[in-house]
Amino acid sequence: MKVALALWLGCMCFVTAFSQKKNITVSGYIKEKSTHETLIGVNIYIKENPSLGTVSNPYGFYSLSFPPGSYTLVYSYIGYESFELKQDFLVDQELPVTLSPGILMEEIVISDEEKKKDIESTQMGTIELKMDKVKKLPTLMGEVDMLKILQLLPGVSSATEGSSALYVRGGGPDQNLVLLDEAVVYNTGHLLGFFSVFNSDAIKNTTLIKGNMPAEYGSRISSVIDVQMKDGNMNHWTVEGGIGLIASRLTVQGPILKNKCSVIFSGRRTYALDLAQPFINKTKFKGTNYFFHDFNAKANYILGKKDRVFFSGYFGRDVFSFADNDRDFDIRLPYGNTTLTLRWNHIVSDKLFFNTSLISNNYSFKIAGGQDDFKFAVNSGVIDYVAKAQAEYYPNSKHTVRSGFRYTWHKLSPNVVTGTNGETDFNSGFDPKYGHENEIFLSDDWHVSSWWRVNLGMRLSNFIQVGPYTSQESGEVFGRNEIAKMYFEPEPRLIVNRKINSNSALKAGVSRAAQYVHLVSSSNSTLPNDVWVPSSAVVKPQIAWQYTLGYYTRFNAWDLDFSVETYFKDLANQLDYRDSYVDNFSDELENEFVAGKGKAYGIEFLLQKNVGNISGWIGYTLSRSERKFDEIENGRIFRTSYDRPHDLVVVGQYQLNKKWQLSANFVYATGRAYTPIRSVFIIQNEPQIEYGLRNSERLKSYHRLDFSAVYSNESKNSEKYYSTWAFSVYNVYNRKNPFFSYTDFESDYLKGQIVAKSVNVSIFTIIPAVTWNFYWRIK
C-alpha cells in the first residue's frame, strides 16, 4: 500500500507542475433546487463555443477553464430546466448552481447525457439511468428493479428469467463491479436473484459501463454498475413510499441543519409469508417463514465551502426458515450484504477536486439447522476493508486528469462446515483466505482538437495472497501475513473519438483488465451460496482484452439517437468447475476449478428517442460467448449458458396526459443453451442419464410483452403530497417461456415399462400487479 500511495503522489506532483495559468476557471457544485441533491453528469458549456465544456463529476462538482471574456455559460441536464448565465468572466470564480426540475412529461429512462456523450465524449458502452424515470416501466410483480431495467439494454442479459444477475457482453456475473456509494456489493439478489438488493427509493443514479471502462475503475473485467445513493433532502423533510404485492417501502429524508446537514433513511421489506403465519402456525410447519429486507441510510455534512463529508450504509438480509415439528427438524438460511462508506470531498483549488473514502463491506451466507442432538452450520462470505483516494484535476479546457489509488484488504471464507452430534464436533477444516489488493491509476481525457478526443489511461494493479494458507500442490505452509503468491498486472486503457460532424462520431477503444476475486457457480444462475475465492498460487487472475469500435449519430429532425458498437473480448484464466464436480462441502474449492480461455464478440444497435410524448428505445444485439477448457470435454469450444445470439428489446413510453403514462416492453432472445441428454442407461434397475455435449442444444426462444399504466395526481399544486398507482401486466400474452428443464421417468407397472419424458417448466406466466406509491413533504 505504501508503494502505491507514493507512486500516486508522484503522479500528482508531475501533473500539477504542468498546469497552465492563462485561462480563468469557473467551478462549483451543481444541485437540484428543491432538495439540494447534487446532480451528476450535468453538461456545462460556453454557448458561443460549445467545444468548451465539461460535465459535473460523480459528486456534482465541475470545473471549466476558458479565456477571459464575455460569454453565456449554459448548464443543461435532462429533466431539468436549463440555466444560462451571461456575464463577463474575467477572474476565477466559484459558481454554485441549482437547477429546477422541468415540467412533467418529455423524459424517459435513458438520460440526455447519453446524447451528448455519444457524440462528444470518449465514453463507450455507457448508459445512465435515473430512478424517477425507471419507476414507470413495467416490472415483474410491480417491483421496480434497476438491474432488470439494465437487462433491457443491448449487450446485457440474464441467465434465467426473472433473475437480477447480469451478464454483460458475454462475461460472467462475477465479472461485473457493482458499487453502492463506492462499496462493492458481492451478492446483488434477494430471493435467489429474483429481486435486486437496490431499493429504488434510495437510489439517485445508476451508471452502467459495458466495456473499455475508464482507468479509475478496476477489479472486474466485464462491466461497472455504479450506483449512487441519494444524499438526503437539504431543505425539506419528506416521507415517501409504496405498497406492492411483494414488498413495501418507506423513505424518510430531511435536513438536520438546513443547507448544512441532511439524512436519509430508506427501508423495504417483504411480507407475503408473514401474512400466512397464522395459518402456518397451525400446521407442523410452525416456524417456517421467508422474508427479505433492505435498509439504506446516509448522512452528509457540509463542513465549509471546500469540504463535505458523507457517511452511508446498507444493510440487507434474506431470511428463510423451515421447520418440521413432527420430525423435530429445522433449518435457517440468513444471508446478505452490509456496506459502510465514509467519504470526504475536498476542493483543493478551483481546478483540483479530491475525494477520500474509507469503505467496508461484508457479505455473509449461512445455513444452520439440526434435528434432535445433531446440529450443523455452513458459513461463507467476504469481508473487505478499503481505503481509496482520487483526485480530479482540470488544468485547462483541453484536459481532465484523474488519478488515484485504492487499497483493499480481503478476507474470503469458503464453505466452512461445522456440526455437533451429541458430544462429537465436526469441522471441514477450511480456513479463510486473505489478500491485499493495490491499485493505482492515471488518466487524461484530452480534447485534442474539435475533431479528436482521446482518453488515455494506465492502471497498475497488484494482488498479494498472504497466509495462513497451505498449498495443496506443494504442501508448503504459509504463516499469518506471509506472502504466498503475488500478481502484478498492467491495465492500459485507450479510447479515441473522431468526430465526423456535429452529429456523428466514430470511436475506437482498447483496454486490458485484471480480476483477482472470482465467483464460480455450479448452477445455471448465481445463488447466494456461491463462494467467492481469491487468486492464489492455484487460481490465476482473470484477464480480459477488449476491443471496441462504435459509430454514434443523432437525427435532429426526429430527436433520435442511434449508435452501433461492435466488440471483441479475449478472456484468459476463466474458471469453471471440473466436469462431474459435486459440492459436498468437503473439498477445497480452488482444487476443484479448471482454468481456460474465452471469447465474446458481438454488435449492438441502439436507437433511442429521449424527448417528446412518445419516447423509448429499440436495442438489438447479435453476439456470441464461448469458453474452452482443456479438462472439459477435451478442450471442445462450447457456448456459455448465457450466450444469446439474438437479443431484441423494444421499450416504449407514451405520456397520454398529465396524469397517465403508458409503457410497454417487448423482449425477444434466442433460447438458452443447455446440455442435452445423450442416452439413458440402467444401473441397479433404475434409469440413469448420460448427458451429451455441454450447452450444445437450445431451449425454445424467449419472448414476452409487458404493459404498464401509471396514474399520478402530481401537479404544480401538489408540492406537498401526491400519489401514484402503477398497474402492470407481466407477460401479457402468457408466453410459456421455459425456466428450466428436467427429465422424468414414468413407470407403467401394468405394461411393465418406463418412459422418459423431458419437461420444460415455465414459472412466469401472465402476472398482473398493482403498486401504490406516495410522496409527502412534511415541512
Binding site: 445455513i367 458430544e423 442407461f681 441397479q684 411393465g752 423431458s758 417448466v761
Partner: protein, 317 residues
Amino acid sequence: MENKINFGGLKTSWIYSILFIIGLASCEEVVTPPDLNHPPSLVVEAYIESSASGSTPVYAILTESYSFSDTIGLNTIESKFVKGATVYVAYGSDSIQLQQLCLSDLPEPVRVEVLKSLGYSIDSVTIDFCIYADLQNLIDPERQKEYRFHAYAGSRYAHASVIIPDYVPLDSIWFEKAPGNPPDSFVQMFCYIKDPPINNFYRYFTQVSNSRFVAGVSSVVDDAFFNGQEFKFTLNRALGANEEFDETTGLWKLGDTVAVKWCLIDQSQYDFWNTLEVSKQRQGPFSSYIRINGNVDGALGVWAGSSCEIYKVIVKK
C-alpha cells in the same frame, strides 16, 4: 446415512425446490428433446466384494444404453443385454474368466432361489436377465488387493481397476425413540463407529425382513468431516423403490428383523455413486447437469470393489 453425518447429502437443490413450491405457480410442458442419433454405449455394472461372512460371487451385467425416445420395458430390456462377451477379472498374475449365465439357463428351483436372493418372485420376472459371474467362486476377493476388470464385447473393449479397501466395522447398533412425533411403533437406528485417520469412503444398504437390500438416497459419504473420530450417528432406513415419503420414512418398525450392509469403497466408486445420486436430485431450476463419473474406461458404469459386512438386528428399544 441421510442428513446426519453426510454433509454431502445436504444438497441445496431441495431447499430451493421448497421455495419454489411455496412461492410460485408453474406450468409444465412435455417436449421432445433433440434426437442425438448416435450408437448405444456399452454399460458395465460389475461388483467384487470382500466379506468375512461370505461374499457374493464376482459378477458383471453388460448392457447397452437406450436413446431418450426408447421405451424401457419388457420388449426392450432383454435385447439390451450384451451376450457373448469375453469378461475376465485379473489379479496379480492370475485371471479368471466370468461365465455368461442367463435365467433361462438355470433349472427352475435354482432360478427361484436366485430371484429370491435378489428380492423378486419368479412370477414377477418375465425378462431373461443375463450376467457374467464367477460361478465356481474361484476368486476369493481380498482386502488391499487390486482387481482389474476387462470386457470384450464385439469391437468394444471396457476395462477398469479397483483396490478393495480395508474394512472399518460398525462398533454397535441400537434403537431409540425418533425425534418429533412419529408413530409409537417406529424408532430411529443409531450406530457407533471409530473412523481411522486415513481417507475412507462408506456406502450402506438396508434390508427389512429379508426383502432386497436397498441403497439409501444418499448412500455414500467420505470421512472428510470426521476423519479419525469416533462418534454415534443415525442411520435411516432406505426408501424402497415403490415407497412413498411419509412420516415414517427413514424410521424402523419395532419387531422387524432388519439388516444393515455396511461397506467400505474406494474413491472411484464413491465418485460414481455420489455423482449418480446427485444427478438424480439436481434437476431443479437452479441446477446444472451432473455428469455421472464412472470408473470404467470404454463404457458407462462402474467396477465396484467393496469391503462389506452385514449386521442383522431385531428392532427394539
